[in-house]
Symmetry: C2
Subunit: 190 residues, 2 copies
DNA sequence: CAGTAACTCGAGGATGCCTCGACTTGGAAG
DNA sequence: CTTCCAAGTCGAGGCATCCTCGAGTTACTG
């Protein structure tokens, strides 16, 4: 038992994996995360069993796609953490909402993924939540945030805004964000 | 062509209709509006074709259920329109969110139904939106609402709150409502 | 009680999910 | 260059669900 040194995957397997990811991105963007996986396989020119070989569940496929795009948004998170504290939360929430509305139904899947430890989405969700926490902590210290606003509140707003964007478009989503952020300010009345 | 005087339906048909509605309510409450219609039919002791005879689409079935419960909430709407203007919007939004979270996925279906003229849900949605409009108009006159808050904003908040309630429970939904309403106040800062 | 419109039934075609055993092949070792 | 086998691919098939439609049944009318 030579403690297998994790041989790298075969070239054709890698090719198929990439093709599946590319087609899944296109199909999910068109039809939402509940689109037919058989269609994805067909478009990728691969048998359905091959798709399941690479991605045993729908979540794992979505998870792989999301992880790919996450670097970008985590980059923004770092930037905002270094910038002016009063701008951070707003820009972060808008960016995440836009990102999460790329596929219909993604907001719901992500919201579910935060609770589910075993999910392929869990890590991404936790890291996402971490940035939100960091940004509001800074904003609070700078005195531009009510003291009773929690990370969970920011997360709830983010998901809700993403969902609203899916349902009714960016304009209404942005207005919801704007008003709610106004309600987050320290001078806001009940 | 005697312009048929709309004979009243057969007794067994009426019985079946009621049984289907009752079981659909139970099943949707347990599993959400995307639950299997064959299960509903099975539980109602009726063949699948009979269910489709009464309700040609899922929307029409959900629409019938929603309409049944709407009288209640429209009653509240009338009450709030007669009460103090500053309380109306908050209580209305909370009530509608609670109502819409009865079945998982209902918020999304209702949000979609507002745009779709032909939908069985359209009337209910429009009437619902009407109450929202009336309540915010009164609140604005009473000077407890920013002048740039529209009926669409209230509707967006209502749907978002209903969805948040489905996803994360009543507490987080209520907090979202509370903060956003604070942002709706005339003294709220950008 | 006969006639018929209204209703009910459920088989069946279409699609999607996911599994599994048989087959094929990339690439390491000789 | 061959051999070999783990890694990868394939797709039929079992199961669930959707929805339709033609044949059969039944509640009501006169």
């Amino acid at each position: 038992m030579p403690m297998s040194p994790a041989r790298r995957p075969r070239a054709d397997a890698l090719r198929n994996r990439e093709k599946i990811l590319a087609e899944a991105d296109a199909v999910f963007a068109e039809q939402g995360v509940e689109a037919s996986l058989e269609l994805v396989a067909r478009r990728a020119g691969v048998a359905i069993g091959t798709l399941y070989g690479h991605f045993p569940t729908r979540r794992s496929l979505v998870g792989a796609l999301v992880r790919e795009r996450n670097e970008e948004i985590f980059g923004l998170g770092d930037e905002l953490l270094a910038g002016p504290p009063e701008e951070g939360p707003a820009r972060w929430i808008r960016a995440v909402a836009e990102h999460s509305a790329r596929y219909g139904g993604l907001a719901a899947m992500l919201a579910g993924g935060l609770d589910d430890e075993a999910s392929e989405l869990h890590d991404s969700c936790v890291r996402m939540a971490g940035y939100g926490d960091g940004l509001i902590a800074r904003a609070r210290e700078a005195g531009v945030l009510r003291s009773d606003v929690t990370g969970e509140d920011v997360l709830a707003l983010t998901s809700a805004a993403a969902w609203t964007r899916e349902q009714s478009g960016p304009d209404r989503s942005d207005r919801l964000i704007r008003f709610t952020l106004a309600g987050f300010r320290p001078d806001a009345q009940e």
